[in-house]
């Protein structure tokens, strides 16, 4: 009996060691970057993380499939989620590249060494808002946010669509406005730093001036959604009268017949980047590079502009027609550097229930 028990314990210990020892060892270093592939053959498919919206992601994936014959297996996640994924997965990513994600992720990926630089002929000579100076990321589309209103609800109450961000502070809107939460949405973080600069640092009141605006706005906000596009749908369906939202879904909802109004208030909108980058460790480097080249074409810009994004090429932009008014002199670097602090400050002030 005793020997039986000993043998089984021995077996278990051996197995445990076999599994546990390598697990305790530090993660093996990431393989060095592969030398440029000689044979010019595209992979059948690549895997990508994509932000934006499910519809836009599908359009972009289809475009790549049509032009290159490469299937993009993508996972739609919000920018924050992609950032969390990259952090958890490093240095072994479940995707080959990130397509149309947000500024902070591209900046972090470059800083942490998760992305691969590529000197793409399609992107040479563009300014720093379109391309990382060291070739680590490529911005295909700037996202802006807009003010949306539900036509029926406005008419019911006899109110006109506001044309200034200041109008939103009027007590008549109490409980009628929705915006995304800066703690969880990249779009909302853009709103936060835009307002902090617009009503604070840019008008000489310091950051506190901006927080005062946010506090006054908070009194009229019903709740903060977790996704940046959610207010579009909530306002389109008439759950709320006004919403500050990502522009991406506005045109599609109008086309579907929802009573949705939009405007860029007179002060202008803030904007963020929609960068693309290749993830280190990919086995399909050549294909990813070809995709980056493709993303730099005017045709791709036209595709993005057709859904209301501001692009590098001179093509007509849906929703806006021409380039919309943006808040001048926004400091994006200040925003990325202070992101953690600003988010903590926001939560301390406004997560009160």
């Amino acid at each position: 009996m005793k020997s039986k028990w000993l043998i089984s314990v021995g077996l278990v210990v051996c197995l445990l060691l076999a599994f546990a020892l390598p697990m305790c060892a530090p993660a093996p270093p990431v393989e060095e970057e592969k030398p440029p592939v000689e044979e010019e053959e595209l992979a059948k498919s690549i895997r990508a993380y994509m932000s934006g919206t499910p519809e836009h992601d599908a359009d972009q994936a289809n475009f790549i499939k049509q032009k290159l014959g490469v299937e993009v297996k993508y996972l739609y996640l919000s920018c924050g989620v992609i950032g969390a994924r990259l952090d958890a997965e490093a240095p072994r990513f479940s995707a080959d590249m990130c397509i149309s994600v947000c500024g902070p992720q591209a900046v972090t990926a470059k800083k942490e060494g998760w992305s691969i630089a590529y000197d793409s002929p399609a992107w040479r000579g563009l300014g720093s808002e379109w391309k990382d100076p060291d070739d680590y990321w490529f911005n295909t589309a700037c996202v802006v946010f807009v003010l949306v209103g539900n036509e029926d609800r406005l008419a019911e109450q006899g109110y006109a669509m506001p044309d200034s961000w200041e109008d939103l502070l009027d007590p008549k809107w109490k409980g009628q406005i929705v915006m995304p939460s800066p703690a969880t949405s990249g779009t909302a973080f853009r709103m936060l730093f835009t307002f902090l600069q617009l009503y604070g640092t840019l008008v000489g009141k310091g950051e506190e001036g901006g927080w005062e605006y946010m506090a006054a706005l908070d009194k009229n906000i019903d709740h903060y959604t977790s996704g940046g596009n959610a207010p579009t749908d909530l306002v389109a369906r008439g759950e709320f009268t006004l919403g500050i939202t990502n522009q991406a879904q506005v045109q599609p909802r109008i086309d579907e017949g929802y009573p949705l109004l939009w405007t860029i208030p007179e002060e202008g909108s803030g904007f963020g980047l929609g960068p693309n980058f290749i993830l280190k460790g990919t086995e399909e480097l050549y294909t990813c590079q070809k995709i980056i080249d493709l993303l730099g074409t005017e045709e791709f810009s036209a595709l993005r502009a057709a859904t209301g994004y501001v692009v590098k090429d001179d093509v007509p932009i849906a929703l806006f027609g021409t380039k919309p008014k943006l808040v001048p002199n926004l400091d994006l670097n200040w925003a990325f550097e202070n992101q953690d602090r600003l988010m903590d400050e926001w939560k301390t002030r406004f997560v009160t229930e």
């Binding site: 039986k4 895997r47 499910p54 969390a84 939460s181 959610a230 009160t352």
Partner: protein, 559 residues
């Protein structure tokens, strides 16, 4: 005995190996299972806890300090506690009423009541958030009809949704205990002249205490940790589970997410300890524990009427929910534009993810069924130490918050040799180990009916261990396997909290799809996908039930 047989054979090498396994197969399998369960249940939790005390500069309590110093964390912690307590009380009292009616109440009510609660088991728990939004949202059907300037978003909404969502679990566990009580005890009390209220108070309820505590523990954990309803309905109120999710996925802050996970785990640990301490040393088995309560008893109207009222209200709300979701699937925008449309139901996006879910759930069901039976076998037949630990570990799987387990899986299985993230296997595995206890307990119940002498006789008559297992143990445990399979399959199909962390590019699941569409406010697509999900799961279960009945291996409800 097996040893005697081993000694009497010629000692060829192959024979030796075979004999070794014949003798030690149970212990080695037990050891292996112990290892597997430890890797897939303990290791992820350890990974989460480690991450909560390890920062970029080594060991630190910095993150716990942050939790204690920030008011926004206090709020969500407090809200979650309150939510858990309220939901648990509602679920237990309503669950008891329905369970009492289905075991002792009028016969014609039993089947319909059971059916309604079963309906809940195969539908995603966040279905109630959908229906509450359609009914009582800012543009809800009821809100508009009554011109209310109020909406369901907030604490009340979440409590209602969670209570309805976890009612069937509370019901099932209470019903299980209730039906195994020997009615003779109650009958004798009645014959001796005790009133029904007195019997209920002094006999039935005290005997139900273990069942109640177990149900309370599990409902509490689920109510606090499942974040679907809370994320969709909370409005401005913060809760721990959605906060944990958003800390990880929105802020990419694994350290704080792990700290929040610890606080999600904490009440579970406390409740678990209390439960074990309270029940230990007290025997609650009534003589001849076989369920005999089949005959409807006379229940006086003082007790019957309130019970009927509570049960009917609860079931009415559940049926209303399904009706509303059904409507939502076929109308353009329910409440706003009620034109009939097939657009949502024909949407291919949800079909693709539904197929993914089916694959994952089928794999999970298979693994769950097999592992459950094996575990039951080694726990009942094994002679090695650590059996109770193995059983305890498996049981604790179901009490782990899904959110925590999901985070644990990303942290634990992202490095070789167990590089599982990004595969579909990790989705199945995560679900298997969370629900393993169900198959195991069913297996234990079955095996306890089979005396070990039958197996020994088979061995003595010259059958090998494998043959014995195949010819004797397998047939008797097959219903337990099927039960484990079905339960794991169902829960994997509708599970969200852990899965949402583990899906990978090009491989989403239907539960995540429903949740994502609902957060974007596309209620029509969510409802349509929910409807498809419920239909497919019921169809699968019906086929399984039918085929197992045809093969003579009928699956009873509790094995």
């Amino acid at each position: 005995m097996a040893e005697a047989r081993a000694l009497s054979r010629p000692r060829f090498v192959w024979q030796k190996i075979e004999d070794f396994f014949a003798v030690h197969i149970v212990s080695t399998t037990g050891g292996l299972l112990f290892l597997i369960v430890a890797i897939f249940l303990l290791w992820p939790i350890i990974a989460v806890l480690t991450r909560s005390v390890f920062g970029s500069e080594g060991l630190t309590l910095e993150y716990y300090k942050t939790f204690i110093s920030k008011s926004y964390y206090h709020r969500s912690f407090y809200n979650s506690l309150l939510l858990g307590v309220l939901t648990t009380s509602v679920c237990l009292s309503v669950g008891f009423c329905i369970a009492y009616l289905t075991t002792c109440g009028p016969v014609y009510l039993r089947r319909p009541l059971r059916l309604v609660t079963f309906l809940l088991l195969i539908s995603p728990p966040y279905i109630f958030a959908l229906s509450l939004i359609i009914l009582l949202g800012h543009r809800g059907i009821i809100t508009q009809a009554l011109h209310l300037n109020w909406a369901i978003y907030g604490f009340t909404g979440v409590v209602i949704a969670q209570s309805l969502a976890f009612l069937p679990l509370a019901y099932m566990m209470i019903e299980n205990t209730l039906s195994s009580l020997n009615p003779n005890l109650e009958d004798s009390a009645a014959n001796l002249g005790a009133t029904e209220g007195k019997i209920l108070r002094s006999i039935t309820l005290p005997l139900l205490r273990p069942g109640f505590l177990k149900a309370a523990l599990i409902v509490y954990v689920l109510a606090v940790a499942e974040f679907g309803n809370a994320a969709l309905l909370s409005g401005r109120t913060s809760f721990l589970a959605p906060d944990t999710y958003l800390t990880i996925v929105g802020e990419a802050n694994y350290n704080m997410g792990s700290v929040l996970s610890f606080f999600l785990l904490l009440p579970c640990i406390i409740v678990f300890v209390i439960q074990n301490y309270l029940i230990r040393g007290k025997s609650y088995t009534t003589i001849g524990g076989k369920p005999v309560a089949a005959e409807p008893r006379h229940i006086s109207s003082v007790i019957l009427i309130p019970m009927l009222a509570v049960s009917f209200i609860a079931c009415g709300l559940i049926l209303l929910t399904f009706l509303v979701v059904g409507l939502g699937a076929f109308t353009k925008i329910v409440g706003v534009d009620n034109t009939f449309t097939l657009k949502s139901i024909l949407d291919v996006g949800s079909t693709a993810v539904l197929i993914n879910s089916l694959k994952v759930s089928f794999l999970a069901g298979l693994l769950g069924g097999i592992l459950g039976v094996l575990l039951a076998y080694v726990i009942i037949r094994g002679r090695f130490r650590g059996r109770t630990t193995l059983e305890g570990m498996t049981v604790s799987g179901i009490t782990l918050p899904g959110t925590v387990l999901g985070i644990g899986y990303i942290l634990a299985f992202n490095k070789p040799p167990l590089l599982l993230t990004g595969t579909i296997v990790i989705l199945s595995i995560c679900s298997v180990f969370r629900h393993l206890v169900v198959g195991m307990e069913a297996g234990i119940t079955k095996l306890k009916q089979l005396s070990i002498e039958v197996e020994e006789a088979s061995l003595n008559l010259g059958a090998s261990t494998v043959t014995t297992f195949r010819r004797i143990v397998l047939p008797i445990t097959f219903p337990a396997f099927m039960y484990g399979f079905m339960y794991t399959f169902m829960r994997t199909m509708v599970g969200l909290s852990a899965m949402i962390f583990l899906i990978s590019p090009g491989y989403s699941l239907v539960s995540v799809y429903i949740f994502n569409e609902a957060t974007l406010g596309r209620i029509g697509l969510s409802c349509a996908a929910t409807l498809k999900l419920i239909t497919v799961v019921s169809a699968c279960l019906a086929i399984l039930q039918f085929s197992s009945r045809r093969t003579g291996l009928s699956v009873t409800r509790k094995a």
